[in-house]
């Protein structure tokens, strides 16, 4: 490895580590949020255009349109939990406050995406399977994920001092991690109403390009929206902690 590339790697690593500083993170977030916001709107515009101009499915008819919002919501429900799990590790191993900020601000977003996956899935299931709800492995495991999200949100609000909640929140989040492979592979391990994965085999996806491209662009739009809202929420939480610190300082003066 040349000296230049070594220096570049070290510089990138120190830049990333530097973002863990709340003040530097605020500067980064203030620059990143508008860019991400514009990217989100563009991706949604393209994704929705491609979705609504996609042909009718020969079996599902126009209900295939629900897939373009249901599947990204379900993916994001799991991706958000993965982000929270990485944050939980950062919170437990390095006890870094920004990792805790990331974890607690991602939870409500994860709950919204999981709720949307359940609600749109139910609205898709009725015309396709003839039922709003079935206690099959995929739906039940996603419902459990939703309940875990609500539990994490409740726990994050149960402490007056945010730093006291960091470790319990991280532990509770890590306890829920085994649910992710259960959700992913539930369609292979058990007999469910859901079909096996259609997109994971990129070399041979079980879906025509007229449905695959709108789906992938909608998934990117959901992902960009998640990162926009997550950075905005993290910025809000850092501000809340600054306000709290100032109030404590004022109270000590009195």
């Amino acid at each position: 490895m040349t000296m230049t590339s070594e220096t570049a790697i070290r510089s990138n690593a120190s830049n990333l580590w530097g973002l863990a500083n709340p003040t530097r993170f605020m500067g980064f977030a203030n620059r990143a949020i508008p860019v991400l916001g514009i990217a989100t709107m563009l991706l949604f515009a393209i994704g929705l255009y491609l979705s609504f101009t996609a042909p009718e499915d020969y079996q599902q008819g126009y209900t295939v349109l629900i897939m373009f919002i249901h599947v990204p919501a379900a993916w994001l429900a799991m991706m958000t939990y993965s982000v929270m799990s990485i944050s939980a590790l950062g919170s437990i191993v390095w006890r870094h406050p920004l990792a805790d900020v990331s974890l607690r601000t991602a939870a409500p977003l994860g709950a919204v995406f999981t709720f949307l996956a359940l609600a749109t899935g139910s609205l898709w299931g009725k015309p396709m399977w003839g039922t709003w709800w079935e206690w099959d492995a995929r739906m039940t495991s996603v419902l459990i994920l939703f309940i875990i999200y609500l539990g994490i949100i409740a726990l994050s609000k149960a402490f007056d001092e945010p730093s006291e909640a960091a470790q319990p929140l991280a532990i509770m989040t890590l306890v829920g991690v085994p649910l992710l492979p259960i959700i992913k592979f539930s369609v292979d391990w058990w007999n469910t109403l859901h079909q096996p994965a259609s997109v994971s085999r990129f070399d041979r996806p079980a879906m025509g390009p007229e449905f695959l491209y709108p789906l992938l662009i909608m998934a990117l739009a959901y992902m960009a929206l998640f990162f926009t809202l997550h950075f905005m929420s993290m910025r809000n939480e850092v501000l809340a902690r600054r306000i709290r610190a100032m109030k404590m300082k004022q109270a000590r003066r009195k």
Binding site: G61, T63, L65, P108, V112, L116, L229, A240, M246, Q250
Partner: protein, 51 residues
């Protein structure tokens, strides 16, 4: 439009729009409120320091 299943497709998109736009709005409003409160607190602190 959307054929016989419009009663399922339209609510799906409506729920998604309301939930995601609602979450964005709440987060944005919270940001405005916190920035205002921080500015007010900083002004109070400056005033207290000057006194």
């Amino acid at each position: 439009m959307f054929g016989e299943h419009a009663a399922f497709i339209i609510p799906s998109y409506l729920i998604s729009f309301v939930a995601l736009a609602g979450a964005s709005l709440v987060i944005w409003r919270t940001h405005i409120a916190r920035k205002k409160e921080l500015a007010r607190m900083e002004a109070q602190m400056d005033q207290a320091n000057n006194e």
